[in-house]
Symmetry: C2
Subunit: 153 residues, 2 copies
């Protein structure tokens, strides 16, 4: 880590920090829900498509597991995405039973458009923070990234 060692946070604060941090996250997730465009994509569809862009193609069953929906639900979701031209199935060279799924160019463009809109909104909100808080947030970004990484598992 290239972050300078800070000797200012006693270990005893950890539990309390996390309850408050969790409360902050709850409000972020709540705000996230409100920000999503209504008629465009279902919640699971948006996250599945985002995952395909982020992590590359994946097997249908793996997507179902990762998004915590049943296999039939993912079958239908992928079919919907395919009908919308946002994703497509492709066969596995080693196992004919497998349905691999990848995002299309149109799907990637949609994900990027949505991400850009969120980033723009966040940039706007960020700019209203006092400089010291902006700096604190920038310094915590690697930690947030590591934590999000750990959460995904």
């Amino acid at each position: 880590m290239d972050i300078t060692q800070t000797a200012g946070a006693p270990a005893g604060d950890t539990a309390l920090d996390c309850a408050e941090f969790s409360a902050v996250l709850e409000r972020f997730v709540s705000a996230w829900r409100r920000f999503s465009v209504p008629g465009e994509l279902s919640s699971t569809a948006a996250f599945t498509l985002g995952r395909l862009v982020r992590d590359g193609s994946s097997r249908l069953t793996e997507l179902a597991t990762l998004e915590h929906v049943s296999q039939p639900a993912m079958t239908q979701l992928v079919s919907r995405l395919e009908a919308q031209g946002l994703a497509e199935r492709f066969s596995d060279p080693g196992d004919a039973r497998v349905a691999n799924v990848r995002v299309t160019t149109a799907g990637q463009a949609l994900v990027e458009r949505r991400r850009a809109a969120r980033a723009a909104r966040l940039t706007q909100l960020f700019s209203t923070l006092p400089p010291a808080q902006q700096a604190a947030l920038a310094a915590a970004l690697p930690a947030l990234d590591a934590l999000a990484d750990a959460s995904a598992r």
Copy 2:
């Protein structure tokens, strides 16, 4: 408006920071979805109940607006919560048309149980971070709080 002159954070980094920060948030929200207990409460039910605990009682239409669902959907959701003993309607002294909604003791207990479970999980993840990142995160908590506050509006 506060001063935009920053001594420590170059303005050129802001846009990039926010794109990355937004990506981090996307992964947090995705992980949040996976963590929620399946058969217990619907997503909107959980957020509505959490809001009632956090911000106190509210009018039905206001809840519908805040959660971005239609008025009939909120009517039915409140009825469901009422049937489960988690929330209850109460009349408005000044306007007989209004349906005010508040959380019950059981509803509050449920919300707190879920929050405690999330905080415990977060504490566990947090403990795996190196001390420098833990400190950076603790230092950024007020900024995250302010940002979540701004996001809610």
